[in-house]
Amino acid sequence: MFPDQASTFAWHVDALYFYLILVSVVFSIPIVAAIVFFGLRYREKEKYATPEEMHGSIMLETTWSIIPFIVSMTIFLGGAIVYYNQFRMPDDGMDVYVVGKQWMWKIQHATGQREINELHVPVGRRVKLTMTTEDVLHDFFVPAFRTKMDVVPGRYTYLWFEATKPGKYHLFCAEYCGLNHSGMGGYIYVMEQRDFDNWLSGNVSGQTPVEQGKDLFENKLGCASCHAGGPQQRGAKLEGIYGHEVKLVGGQTVLADDAYIRESILNPSAQIVEGFQPIMPTFKGQVTEEQLVSLVAYIKSLSGITATTTGGGTGSTAANSAASGNTIDSANTMAPRKAERGRTGQEGSNPNTPGTGTEPTNSNR
């Protein structure tokens, strides 16, 4: 019924909220009471009666104009103060850079760590987000922090918060951004300083490579938002691709082996599968070597090959070829739709990290 309070100013907002609820109730009661009471008391006694008429009274009118005005001014002031506190940027904030992109959040810490659709922050430190987007409007929304800011292409917007309670909180994109809008989100992990430090120094989980790869693929790196199946997919379908010839833009084909997959993750625009726009961002520097290994292992597993057997297993050729044929179909059907997108494709191909090109409208003095 009520979202967690996990930031320093969450309670300001809640206080304001309850104040307004109070005001609403106090205003509603007399009106509703009046309606009900008059409705019963002065019910029509005889048909077409003409009750003695009364004209308005300036006295009343002024009172019930003045009082609401005063009350609304208190609301305005309260709101203004809360808002000001939320948007006066701290000087000692821990900097985090956020780039929105259809449909994922790419986040980079000042210390260099990159995350996707996730943000790890320590408790009790002011975190200042510098945000921009590569394509359309997005909005960085964390209900538990009671804060939200639009992310505007071509300029920076800023947001800060100080988490007060360790935990895992929702991160939403609140500004409609197209097809997968409702999928564009993730979690904010608030950790004790100690945990945060050892997270910074690269944590290792106890999963098998395939599990870890699956986790990376579906959650951490958000590959699934483009590469999962479905008519709207923007990236090549990966089921059954391993160990098969892939047709590239420009006609030549290449064998989808470990090296190819690894290369395509690190340097996507090098070898584009036919019928797709080069919109995949590079993951160089975002994935560690072991993560790469586990990703490759997972993608193999999509072709029914366990991580142990290396190379094109001839066991399930029929199924695979069927699957890969399927890939080509979807590729062809995709082609015209993507062509319409015009500039969009090109934009996606060079993901700009904060700092280059975009125009910080506010950050100068």
């Binding site: 005001v23 077409y48 009364m54 359309v136 929304f141 809008h181």
Partner: protein, 557 residues
């Protein structure tokens, strides 16, 4: 007085000659300059759009039954909510009361033969049809998925849907509402009957006048803005697209400059209708006439000064935000004044709970909530958390549906006897009114809580912990749907089997009740001369109450 005697004599069945039986050919309808016939054609078209928008709404609620986007794939869902918004706002809410009830009643209420510019009036209907047809065509071709706000750069450079066609439809439709507003203003200024001074005008007319101001001065801006978006899609010159030097916030300014006042286009006429209902069904002069009248004008003017409160987190300047927030608080006052005056009107009245009155009271209840939650969204600190969540959705549905649609239905029921000359079934009327009230609250109240929990709007799939409230909402929606379907049935039924209403079924003083129902083509046998104040129920009104009671006793015995 003479028209009153004439009226009592004419207390028989439908008048032999009225606007309905004056020509039956299709041509006599399509080329008519009679505001009443145009209003009827608007009524039909608007209802069609309302039905379609309603179907979309039902689909949305069904999809949101489950957290996953399983019923609709998210691309489809985006189109569905977009088209729900576009149809409901541009093709139902904005034309509903002005173009249907206003068109029909405004000239009668001021004692005119017709609107001042009948041909313009017909033209606006045709523009509405063309715009609507274009939009519907686009929907059949694959629809549009930008959200009704057409935010750039998504709408200009990224969406692959039929933004241009729909935009063009809205552009054309915009001129339809401009012309309607223009026509109303002129009419109120020049066509008032002898003795019908400004302060004898029914408050419905005042509300229409205020609405028309917004229509004339606001709509052109959104028209040009949508046009710019359309051009930008072809020309790929980005004044709204940063990647080639443009500025998306500018679009939001231009868009909201109209689209916030548009909210008042949608609710002011409703307030006008409710002023009529409250005063007439408590048979008592409305409390603080001048204040209600001027508050309408105040809302129309101040409504243009607050658009920035849609942009508190869009990256607009904090100082602009402060100003807009302040003015938002100010614009709340006139609405409060109306609220208080309505309740004061009930005091010591003789209140009869006919169907229209139920709608009137329902409006007061729902608009109370809608208005107060508006304060939540005007207060900057709170809006940061609430904007773009379901709290906003709930708020504007309370204002739009709980305000405008309820008032519209109230008005339809109130003037149905006048429009058709037939009486509908009181019983079913009351039942549906109550169903709608209950269903509406069930549907939208949970969404306030959802919003504060942080469920963003326009989400096809949402976190599982929010499912319960969504189920409540959907359940309520089904009740609401049934409630909204019932009037269609019993009103249609009344057309054929309803008993004749007579000119003045409730013995009310308004001019529209002093002519036959359905009214003759030129509204009055002879131009009426107004000698009584607005909402005058006493002797001065010249109403033959005795005669009415006599007739009552005869019919009841």
């Amino acid at each position: 007085m003479q028209n009153v005697d004439a009226l009592d004599a004419a207390y028989n069945d439908r008048p032999t000659k009225n606007y309905l039986n004056n020509g039956y050919t299709l041509k006599s309808w399509l080329l008519t300059k009679d505001h009443k016939r145009i209003a009827i054609m608007y009524l039909v078209s608007v209802s069609v759009f309302f039905l379609m928008g309603g179907l979309y709404a039902a689909t949305i609620r069904l999809e949101l039954l489950t957290p996953a986007s399983d019923l609709l794939e998210s691309g489809t869902y985006n189109k569905v909510f977009t088209q729900h918004g576009i149809l409901m706002i541009f093709f139902f809410l904005i034309p509903s009361i002005p173009a249907v009830l206003g068109n029909f009643l405004l000239p009668i209420m001021i004692g005119a033969k017709d609107l001042a510019l009948p041909r313009i009036n017909l033209l606006s209907l045709y523009l509405y049809w063309v715009g609507g047809a274009l939009t519907l065509w686009a929907l059949t071709q694959g629809g549009v998925d930008t959200g009704w706000t057409f935010y750039t750069p998504y709408s200009t450079s990224f969406s692959n849907t039929f933004v241009m066609a729909v935009g063009l439809g809205i552009f054309i439709n915009g001129f339809s509402s401009i012309l309607t507003g223009l026509n109303f203003i002129v009419t109120v200024h020049t066509m008032r009957a002898p003795g019908m001074t400004w302060f004898r005008l029914p408050l419905f007319v005042w509300a229409q006048y205020a609405t028309s101001l917004i229509m004339v001065l606001g709509t052109p801006v959104v028209a040009i803005t949508i046009l710019l978006v359309a051009i930008e899609r072809v020309a790929r010159v980005g004044i709204f697209d940063p990647s080639i030097g443009g500025d998306p916030i500018l679009f939001q300014h231009l868009f909201w400059f109209y689209s916030h006042p548009a909210v008042y286009i949608m609710v002011l006429p409703g307030m006008g209708v409710v002023s009529e209902l409250i005063s007439n069904f408590s048979r008592k002069k409305i409390f603080g006439y001048e204040f209600i009248a001027f508050s309408s004008i105040a809302i129309a003017v101040f409504g243009f000064l607050v658009w920035g409160h849609h942009m508190f987190v869009s990256g607009q300047s904090i100082y602009a935000g402060l100003v807009f927030s302040f003015l938002t608080m100010v614009v709340a006052i006139p609405s409060a004044i109306k609220m208080f005056n309505w309740s004061a009107t009930l005091y010591k009245g003789s209140i009869s709970f006919d169907t229209p009155m139920l709608y009137g009271l329902g409006f007061m209840g729902l608009f109370l909530i809608g208005g107060l939650t508006g304060l939540f969204l005007g207060s900057m600190g709170l809006v940061v958390h609430l904007t773009d969540t379901y709290f906003v959705v709930a708020h504007f549905h309370y204002v739009m549906v709980g305000g405008q649609v309820i008032a519209y239905l109230g008005g339809i029921h109130y003037w149905w006897p006048k429009i058709t000359g037939k009486m509908y079934s009181e019983f079913w009327g009351k039942v549906s009114a109550m169903l709608i009230f209950v269903g509406f609250n069930l549907t939208f109240f949970p969404q306030f809580i959802l919003g504060y929990l942080g469920m963003p709007r326009r989400y096809a799939s949402y976190p599982a912990e929010m499912q319960v409230l969504n189920i409540f909402s959907t359940a309520g929606a089904s009740v609401l749907g049934i409630g909204l379907l019932m009037p269609v049935i019993y009103l249609a039924h009344s057309l054929f089997y309803g008993k004749n209403a007579g000119p003045n079924p409730w013995m009310l003083p308004g001019l529209e009740w002093r002519t036959a129902s359905p009214p003759p083509t030129e509204n009055f046998e002879t131009t009426p001369v107004v000698t009584w104040e607005a909402y005058e129920f006493g002797e001065e009104s010249g109403l033959d109450l005795e005669g009415a009671r006599r007739r009552e006793s005869v019919t009841t015995v």
